[in-house]
Amino acid sequence: MRDELGVRGQAAIVGVADAASPTGDLDLHGRALEAAMIREALDDAGLELSDVDAVFSAGDAMGLPEFLGLHPRWVDGTMTGGSSFEVHVQHAATAIALGLCDVAVSVYAATPHSDRKRGRANDFGGRRGGNFAAMTWEMPYGMRMPMGAYALAASRHMAEFGTTPEQLAQIAVSTREWAALNPRARFRDPLSIDDVLTSEMICSPLHKLDCCLQTDGAGAFVMTSAERARDLRRPPVYVLGVGTATSHSMISQMPDLTTTATTVSGPIAFEMAGIDHEDVDLLMLYDSFTITTLLLLEDLGFCKKGEGGPFVEDGKLGPGGELPTNTNGGGLSYTHPGMYGMFLIVEAVRQLRGEAGPRQVPGCKIAVASGSGGVLSAMSTCVLGSST
């Protein structure tokens, strides 16, 4: 039993917000955008800023609380790239379960799409600079980042298991079908496998349409104790299981490019939640690239290692399929500001509350959000549920 401390079901996400637009641009940026997300998520919950006593940001544990005028008793600046917000769910739920804080807020905002047009410094997040190892041992070889790193993983998966470009493309196609149902998605036009395969080759074997978008985007979640959650505005979404594991920072240090540390984070989260695969109604899987989603499906155990290609081939991830995945349209078609993990959480919460409109998964009770940070480096899995 992995839940000796009794984290399961003790905390609930009670407010969410996210911002994205079909143009890829948002009007606000920086702190103003973060503040808008926090206000919206608190409104969603029916809580005030003064209720917040725990502040989470990906890399800025001091500046954000100061900006908000808060003196929190729990601060967390954990920055694991795209999975940061799954890790925040884990840390916040644990702290709340132990009574170390009561109301936690995590926020993310990045506007790379409009920053470029407006000549603003890109506040993409902490991935840039500072890593002497990568600057010394990887950068001289001209690998485009992060696409090249994921392309190496796809190359190995294809060589080892016979995975085809068509199978990877099917993931982009299924995800686009979901995006068609989301009015805020960046791209909603139907996509064919051929469209993916004839799009520009970026880093072989990954084409342009195997790669996520680069858009503005922002989001926030508010979490509190299950007890307090029951009196708030929205149905609580309980944190049932959480797990995080890392295996490397640079792709050249990844032990096996076909197997991520989700093989560790997933079972920890599932065991804590006490669920099995057939209990899962919705999968929110990081899709920085089509290969990312494929590896997560395998590493979470929805199919065997190496069988992800044939597994996705019938479109089961799309609308009407047996395994609804990335129902907001994903990083591939909805939004991807650089660290996408926040949107996995927000969509899972909306689905579990039954608020997802035309893309609602009927009877959605258990959702799994699994994030990937760095280059398949920092993997974090959350099991969320509409009841305990």
């Binding site: 002497f132 190892a133 600057m135 010394t136 041992w137 990887e138 950068m139 001289p140 070889y141 001209g142 690998m143 485009r144 980042m145 090249g148 392309a151 190496l152 993983a153 796809a154 190359s155 190995r156 060589a159 080892e160 520009e200 080759m201 970026i202 880093c203 072989s204 074997p205 990954l206 640079m250 792709i251 050249s252 240090q253 490019l257």
Partner: protein
């Protein structure tokens, strides 16, 4: 041997890698070995990543290896490599058991494949160092 590539990004020399880069001036590929574990490791660190021992010895590598994974860049990651596209970036497993990110040179980019046997080659840098790259094995 490939032509000099003045445009390529040239890496900094960090303290722990001084012996590595010095050896490249005479085109020798040296690997850091932990004398406690009696195993090589990659990338160079001031201590062994298995046991944290600071007792490290630099030993020559065979220069032979196998492509573990490869991706062809269709646009350059650095302007200095624009004249090379498309070029392959590969992970190569050396016979000694360590894995390096590198380029495979002297071959059509599209011919580089997982499992390909490769051997060490060098590209001169502007300061007298040489950058280790790999070419298809001749034997």
């Amino acid at each position: 041997m490939s032509a000099p590539a003045p445009g390529r990004y040239e890496p900094p020399v960090t303290d722990e890698a001084v012996p590595f880069w010095s050896a490249t001036e005479r085109r020798a590929l040296m690997l850091p070995w932990c004398t406690t574990c009696e195993q090589p490791f990659w990338y160079p660190r001031p201590v062994c990543p298995r046991c944290l021992s600071p007792d490290i010895e630099w030993r020559p590598a065979s220069g032979r290896g196998e492509v573990y994974a490869v991706s062809v860049m269709h646009r350059p990651a650095h302007p200095g490599m624009a004249d090379r596209v498309p070029y392959p970036v590969a992970l190569v497993d050396l016979d000694e058991g360590v894995r390096l990110l590198t380029n495979v040179v002297d071959v059509d980019a599209m011919q580089v494949h997982v499992g390909m046997q490769v051997e060490l080659s060098w590209e001169p840098m502007s300061d007298g160092r040489n950058l280790p790259v790999f070419a298809p094995a001749r034997t």
